[in-house]
């Protein structure tokens, strides 16, 4: 072990919701982790470090959207050595990140919050929007109903454990055609279908790509260009209503109960699930 005092302990944990938008959807998880570490330094946030020869900042990630997939709802957690106002951290961290990696929400956890409140456990499902350029809405609608009517839809994919075949139908809580937010704006006149889907987090993970593979198998739906996929939300799934709750709400309640008024720190433009968020507009601007 290196000489010197032990690293300062974590006395506050911040849970952070961030978005990756526009051309920055092509960042990989490793790219984001480097960018966040640098932004934390630039913003002067008192992040805690691990002990050992090569101390690492205590920043952990709950899952991560794949390279090329945009997201409005990614989550990470930062351990701090001094308490900070979450609203200020939201603004400062956002300013220190390149445009397109945007901090949406920050919630503080009181010291001593146990493992039982692990954020990862609350991320039970994701809501996705998949933009299929060159696909007629009628074809997409037919494929969707074929998929929903099937008892099981098995697809094959290369996973970390090798080539696997698994059912993707069971993980799907909702799958429907959504209105095209760009229609009528003159942005595009080409045919385009938008799918909205809510998919449970399972093992192996069922990704929007797998659902598209399923749609191809069921109804020969074959988009001519790569789909533009955006994660709109992730959180606890209410099986009755099919709605996703905000996974940070329980922490806000805990903070409020503890008399900590710094619980909530939403960004000024927090998009709600299902909203026509500006993802495509951002990418089109580049």
């Amino acid at each position: 072990m290196p000489e010197g005092p032990a690293p300062a302990p974590v006395i506050q944990r911040l849970r952070v919701r961030y978005a990756k938008r526009g051309r920055l959807r092509f960042t990989s998880h490793r790219d984001i982790s480097r960018a966040v570490e640098r932004a934390v330094r630039r913003a002067g946030i008192p992040v805690a470090f691990s002990a050992g020869f090569t101390p690492h900042p205590k920043i952990s990630y709950a899952g991560a959207a794949a390279t090329g997939v945009a997201s409005e709802a990614e989550y990470l957690e930062i351990g701090l050595t001094e308490p900070r106002d979450p609203a200020r951290v939201r603004a400062e961290l956002d300013a220190a990140l390149p445009p397109g990696l945007d901090i949406v929400d920050v919630v503080a956890l009181p010291a001593g919050t146990g493992k039982s409140s692990a954020l990862a456990d609350r991320l039970q499902a994701s809501e996705w929007r998949v933009r299929l350029g060159g696909v007629a809405e009628g074809d997409a609608a037919a494929a969707v109903s074929g998929f929903l009517d099937a008892g099981a839809v098995e697809v094959e994919r290369l996973t970390k454990k090798g080539r696997r075949r698994f059912d993707v139908r069971a993980a799907v809580s909702a799958l429907e055609l959504a209105p095209d937010d760009r229609r009528g704006t003159g942005a595009t006149d080409a045919p385009c279908a938008i799918l909205r889907m809510v998919v449970r987090h399972t093992t192996p993970a069922v990704r929007p790509d797998d659902i598209l593979t399923g749609l191809r198998q069921v109804a020969d739906l074959a988009p001519p260009s790569p789909p533009l996929v955006t994660r709109l939300a992730q959180g606890p799934l209410d099986e009755r209503t099919g709605e996703l709750a905000d996974p940070l709400d329980p922490d806000r309640e805990t903070a409020a109960a503890a008399g900590d008024d710094a619980g909530r720190a939403d960004g000024p433009a927090l998009p709600r699930s299902g909203d026509a968020v500006g993802v495509d507009a951002v990418s089109a601007r580049s």
Partner: protein
């Protein structure tokens, strides 16, 4: 007329290529200025992959300096990988800048920074994708001026036909001067068109326009003469030297990439130039004289650079960083300032002496002491006299002993193989030196886990050095000597396993040699290699020796010269060298004398601390050595 972004066409294709993040831009501190507000527009290219090109200091400095000016815009472009090249060809997407995704062909200047000759084929890919004709003579007023800079531009002759212009030396002032010439020419209605502009640039004496010079050859293949072919064009073109580095504290806002790159750190040049006089070192010869950045400017740049980037590593760059006159105060000041902030400091190029261990200790306070690197370059005392690397084996042993005593466990030693006058015995002495290093380490620490790595590469003679006249050693001999060394190290039971050997085979050095000392006829070889699919020649997985030799045989079939003629041949004093009309400031007679001294194993002192030996740079260029000490200290800053 505004220029459209190609991004909407590019975006749907990105999921199908490797590491798409390298093509999207959007880095912290990158800029996207308005196209129509600018009158002079530069596309700056580093002709290698993004991960190598992005950290390049030269490109970053020019990018910032040009963009600071009103009415001037600079964007960056890099070599695209072969998978992306194929996708771009299929969909008709031109070479683009990563900042605003504009087609490179729409800019006024395409400035390409060549650190190495192995980027030449990548230049051709970029020109082809940009729709710019390869031959400068075939371009018209609609095409950008293709301008080369960087160390390889000190002999741009192999790519002379592909260039409109080249500049030698420091880029800061000349890039702005060229910008002003272009602005005036445009304001006046572009008189004389493309050639009118090139002539204005050539007349300054600081911009080389290859097509304004004719090369005549002798029947045996040597050059007869190189002469300007129109009035107003000077016989010799001079290099540029920035004299006061404190006036140019760039980069101020370094680019912070999202993609992973080869250097993830903030680098500050602590001085330019080197007068140690190592005879193999082109950088040391062409960047003279020594010009230090002051301790206070270094301190301010590091402070600002960390704030702007969030990098956790700071590199103090130069050709021999421990030679800065106030390096001890710089090291201690920075180590004090950043203690406990998880900021690491590194000193990439250092000489062999015990003082360096003190510096290394400062830089590793509280952290792990893993490896130290030294570069004796030559294995024998005799060899080191030839190359003027004045380190004795006893110096080295004293240095590594101190290092091991201070807790360092591994030493890396750099050498070259194939140096002028080298024998098998010179190379085999490396083994003896490595064994003494291990022995010293074991004695100093009483431990067995001492390691030493010998890293050895093939020597390539470079223009503007005393070895510019020397025959390069053939690759068979280099490979044979490396095998002898490997066998010698392996045969030793007591030390062999503590010594690692890293080496490359000799063939790529031959091609580097061809491109380094080639003349305009080599351009045909580069073009033939490119047409046969040659790309990314600096990457061993892409480089093909067979492609180069086969292409050279075809392209040079009608010439009295071949690859051996360019590489393996000793030149005599009177031969006209392809770069003789390009002035690095070095006196040709001094270089020749230094070459004779090399053969005689005579050493030359460093002129920073001993009297001038008349290399010629200071009087020719109107420059002088700029070194401290300033006597100032780094003030402690409050660190977040």
């Amino acid at each position: 007329m505004s220029v459209e972004s190609i991004f909407p066409r590019l975006e749907p294709l990105l999921p199908s290529v490797q590491k798409p993040i390298q093509y999207v831009g959007g880095e912290l501190n990158s800029q996207a200025k308005d196209w129509d507000d600018a009158t002079v527009r530069w596309a700056l290219m580093y002709p290698d992959a993004y991960e190598v090109g992005l950290p390049n200091q030269g490109v970053q400095i020019l990018y910032e300096i040009l963009n600071e000016r009103e009415g001037v815009l600079a964007e960056r472009t890099y070599a695209v990988w072969p998978d992306m090249e194929q996708v771009m060809r299929e969909h008709g997407i031109p070479q683009f800048t990563v900042d605003s995704h504009r087609p490179v062909g729409a800019f006024d200047v395409l400035g390409v920074s060549f650190s190495t000759e192995l980027g030449y084929t990548n230049l051709l890919t970029a020109l082809d994708l940009a729709g710019i004709p390869f031959e400068a003579a075939e371009r018209d007023d609609s095409h950008p001026i293709v301008l080369a800079g960087g160390h390889a531009a000190f002999n741009p002759e192999p790519i002379a036909d592909f260039l409109d212009a080249a500049v030698l030396g420091d880029g800061e002032e000349i890039a702005l001067a060229i910008t002003e010439v272009i602005r005036e020419w445009k304001d006046e209605g572009e008189p004389g068109g493309r050639d009118g502009l090139l002539l204005r640039l050539a007349e300054t004496g600081g911009v080389y326009v290859p097509k304004f010079y004719d090369v005549e050859y002798l029947p045996d293949g040597r050059i007869k003469r190189v002469a300007p072919n129109r009035p107003g064009v000077p016989w010799r073109v001079e290099k540029h030297t920035v004299m006061d580095l404190d006036q140019w504290p760039y980069p101020k806002k370094p680019l912070v990439p999202l993609a992973e790159t080869v250097h993830e750190r903030f680098s500050v040049e602590i001085f330019r130039g080197c007068t140690r006089g190592c005879r193999f070192c082109q950088a040391g010869m062409i960047t003279r004289p020594v010009r230090e950045r002051s301790i206070t400017t270094i301190g301010a740049m590091v402070d600002e650079g960390i704030k702007q980037t969030g990098f956790t590593e700071v590199g103090l760059l130069s050709l021999s960083s421990a030679d800065h006159s106030e390096i001890a105060d710089v090291a201690k000041g920075l180590a004090d300032r950043y203690e406990g902030t998880h900021t690491s400091l590194s000193l990439p190029s250092t000489r062999v002496d015990a003082f360096n261990i003190t510096l290394a200790n400062e830089f590793s306070r509280g952290g792990r002491r893993s490896g130290l690197t030294f570069a004796p370059e030559g294995g024998s005392e005799r060899m080191r006299k030839v190359i003027n690397k004045m380190v004795s084996e006893d110096d080295l042993i004293r240095t590594v002993t101190t290092a091991y005593e201070n807790g360092w466990r591994q030493v890396k030693l750099y050498f070259m193989c194939g140096l002028p006058t080298e024998t098998d015995e010179d190379v085999l002495e490396i083994a003896g030196m490595a064994k003494r290093v291990i022995q010293a380490g074991r004695e100093a620490t009483g431990r067995k886990d001492i390691r030493c790595t010998v890293s050895i590469g093939g020597f390539v003679p470079k223009p503007h050095t005393p070895f510019q006249w020397a025959a390069q050693t053939d690759h068979e001999t280099v490979d044979r000597r490396l095998r002898l060394l490997r066998d010698e190290l392996r045969s030793d039971k007591e030390y062999g396993r503590a010594i690692g050997l890293r080496y490359h085979d000799g063939q790529p050095s031959v091609i580097e040699g061809l491109l380094s000392r080639g003349d305009r006829r080599v351009g045909k070889v580069i073009r033939a290699v490119w047409e046969d699919g040659g790309r990314f020649d600096g990457w061993s997985e892409h480089f093909s020796y067979e492609r180069w030799t086969a292409s050279a045989e075809k392209a040079l079939a009608d010439e009295p010269v071949d690859v051996d003629w360019y590489t393996l041949r000793d030149r005599d004093e009177v031969e006209v060298l392809p770069w003789d009309h390009l002035d690095a400031g070095l006196d040709r007679e001094w270089l020749w004398q230094d070459w004779q001294d090399a053969v005689d194993e005579t050493e030359v002192e460093d002129c920073r601390w001993t009297p001038c030996y008349d290399c010629g740079v200071c009087p020719t260029m109107g420059t002088e050595i700029q070194i401290g000490p300033t006597g100032k200290k780094l003030l402690p800053l409050s660190v977040v």
